[in-house]
């Protein structure tokens, strides 16, 4: 405790105003199988744009935390890595993780911002923490800026499924700004030569937790992960059934080294797994290349992919809204065009 206070005092010269604390972000770093999630790496980049000190937080089971913390320690721009291990953190349930975050972020803490990826896990945890600390939260931001003289933080975020862009300001009256970051809007933080300081934090053990984890089932795939793939081939309802979906799209995805995505219609109809859904209610992606096959381009779907660099649409219906955003549109029967495209790409 004393050490923290000295650290804060030594940074005091950097303050613009005596009242505003210098920005110091705590970034919740998620990991799976010993690897830090790419979304968390983007969240780090976003947090860096506040221009202040950066602390990462790694939680997990005792056998995995140390390795992840050491990986996190090498990331560019990070000053400190806090790590905490407990069997209870093996699957970070909000009910279990919140008390630790509450403790780290309570009144005397140096942190001004709590940051994470807009991942399913962090989306469950951060608002709970914010409410415990009686502060609002800002979701899925695409831009963040800190103004030193006023102590204000300005966020930009999409609303109405990305059909409007909202700019909101959190004044210095809000002691802690809690926000989640849209991964596709920020590059991933990269390793650097410097090493951040590692600090062990005692876990807050909770007896008699009201929620218990039973099991996790992950969809296995050899293809790149949808959220971070640079190329995506996505299919809609026009693919008819699960078998045709696979038979038509997978060869094209394989030729391009692309991930496979799906529209909500295709997921609802059972052609593809839930985890492949692209859109407002599924994943938001922004790959280099997005090929939409048999997707009409409903508002909800466009919300999930319209920031892709190049959009290609293949659809029988020349009036489908997807053609309004496509850089290259082909009006054709997908069952002829897609195999032809696959073959010709292969032999080219």
């Amino acid at each position: 405790m004393l050490r923290t206070r000295i650290a804060v005092a030594s940074r005091a010269f950097a303050r613009g105003y005596a009242t505003a604390k210098p920005p110091h972000a705590l970034v919740f770093l998620e990991h799976r199988a010993g690897v830090i999630d790419s979304g968390s790496l983007s969240a780090l980049t976003a947090a860096q744009q506040l221009g202040g000190e950066l602390t990462g937080l790694v939680l997990g089971a005792p056998d995995e935390v140390k390795a992840v913390a050491e990986e996190a320690q090498k990331l560019k721009g990070v000053n400190t890595i806090l790590h905490s291990a407990s069997p209870q953190y093996a699957t970070p349930l909000p009910e279990v993780v919140t008390p630790l975050l509450e403790k780290l972020l309570s009144d005397s803490s140096p942190f001004t911002h709590l940051v994470s990826a807009h991942s399913s896990s962090a989306k469950s945890i951060l608002p709970r923490v914010a409410a415990r600390l009686d502060v609002p939260a800002v979701s899925d931001i695409t831009s963040v800026q800190y103004d030193a003289p006023s102590g204000e933080t300005t966020f930009v975020r999409p609303i109405y499924a990305g059909n409007a862009i909202s700019t909101v300001v959190a004044s210095s009256d809000i002691p802690l700004k809690v926000f989640t970051v849209r991964s596709t809007a920020f590059a991933a933080a990269v390793p650097a030569d410097a090493k951040a300081e590692l600090k062990l934090v005692d876990p807050v053990e909770i007896n008699d937790v009201s929620t218990t984890h039973i099991k996790t089932s992950l969809t296995k795939s050899d293809r790149p992960e949808l959220g971070v793939a640079s190329r995506i081939v996505s299919g809609g309802r026009a693919l008819k059934n699960a078998e045709t979906f696979e038979k038509t799209l997978y060869p094209l995805a394989d030729v391009l080294g692309a991930a496979v995505g799906a529209s909500r219609a295709a997921v609802d109809a059972g052609y593809a797994d839930n985890s492949l859904q692209v859109g407002q209610t599924g994943k938001v992606v922004a790959p280099e290349l997005y090929i939409a096959v048999g997707i009409s381009g409903a508002i909800q779907h466009l919300a999930g992919m319209k920031d892709s660099k190049m959009i290609v649409a293949i659809n029988k219906d020349a009036d489908a809204p997807i053609f309004q955003v496509a850089d290259a549109g082909l009006v054709a029967d997908l069952f002829e065009a897609v195999p032809e495209l696959t073959e010709k790409l292969k032999s080219a």
Binding site: V129, S139, S166, V169, T211, T212, S217, M310, Q324
Partner: protein
């Protein structure tokens, strides 16, 4: 002494009136918000929440004592509540705010809901909310409410089983890359994913309210309250300084055939991996 009979469960379903999901929204010229003079309806995720509450009662029969709706907002929210009542809820609470009042933030809403829950004489065992509203896309209210109450939370639920005897809910959640199963002790806060489906049903699609049910819903009670009566301040703490149009994509270029498409892909640097 004989054990007292298990208390019946009370369900609360908060619903939001939002711009209809099919409406192409337009940002107003002053850039303060969007043109709201368009069709509104119940937030689709909340519709699923109501539907699932009703299905829970169909499944658990007399174990469910009541399904109560609550909505916060201007006078027209009562229409949204009537829709939910026609779907099968028993009663509703409308926390009415002036038409000119800015939309409350999730934290304010969560605090109001906490007050509502505290006021319920029979208590509340299960709160079912949509996972997000399709207007502000925040996705925070359920988690915030769970935090304020210190209750269990099960977000992005796609399947829920309630064990009335043991007072636990087993929930399948949609997570990045797959699904997760958790067990929550009641009382619990559940937020619905699009595909919440009870075991015997393949898919969750909200039912349409029939005309007789719509007529019946008109007789169901809607209690009116003000934020002041609840002792909550719904003033937003974050300041929205601008709402703008997203950058327009210049699309629309069409190609004649697959060869031309490959040519375009090549130009952009995309070839077989």
């Amino acid at each position: 002494m004989r054990p007292s009979p298990a208390r019946l469960l009370n369900i609360l379903v908060p619903v939001k009136r939002a711009v209809d999901y099919a409406v192409k929204i337009r940002v107003n010229p002053q850039q303060t918000g969007i043109d709201t003079n368009v069709k509104h309806s119940m937030n689709p995720f909340d519709e699923i929440a109501v539907e699932e509450a009703v299905r829970l009662r169909e499944k658990l029969k007399s174990s469910i004592e009541s399904i109560k709706l609550v909505s916060i907002g201007p006078s027209k929210c009562s229409e949204t509540l009537r829709t939910g009542l026609a779907m099968g809820a028993d009663s509703a609470i409308h926390i009415e705010t002036p038409d000119s009042a800015p939309a409350p933030e999730p934290l304010g809403v969560a605090k109001a809901l906490r007050q509502i829950i505290a006021k319920q004489e029979g208590g509340i065992d299960i709160v079912i909310l949509g996972k997000q509203a399709i207007d502000d896309d925040a996705g925070q209210t359920g988690q915030m409410l769970a935090g304020l109450l210190g209750w269990s939370q099960a977000t992005f639920a796609s399947k829920v089983d309630i064990d009335v005897e043991k007072k636990v809910a087993t929930v399948l959640r949609e997570i990045d890359g797959g699904s997760e199963e958790i067990r929550c002790r009641l009382p619990v806060i559940i937020t619905t994913d699009l595909r919440w489906a009870l075991a015997e049903l393949s898919r969750s699609e909200p039912r349409y309210a029939s005309l007789p049910n719509i007529m019946k819903a008109k007789k169901k009670p809607i209690e009116k309250l003000t934020p002041e009566q609840l002792g909550v301040d719904l003033t937003p703490r974050l300041q929205t300084i601008k709402v703008s149009e997203p950058p327009k994509r210049v699309g629309g270029a069409k190609v004649e055939n697959v060869d031309q498409l490959i040519e375009k892909l090549k130009e952009a640097g995309f070839t077989a991996a």
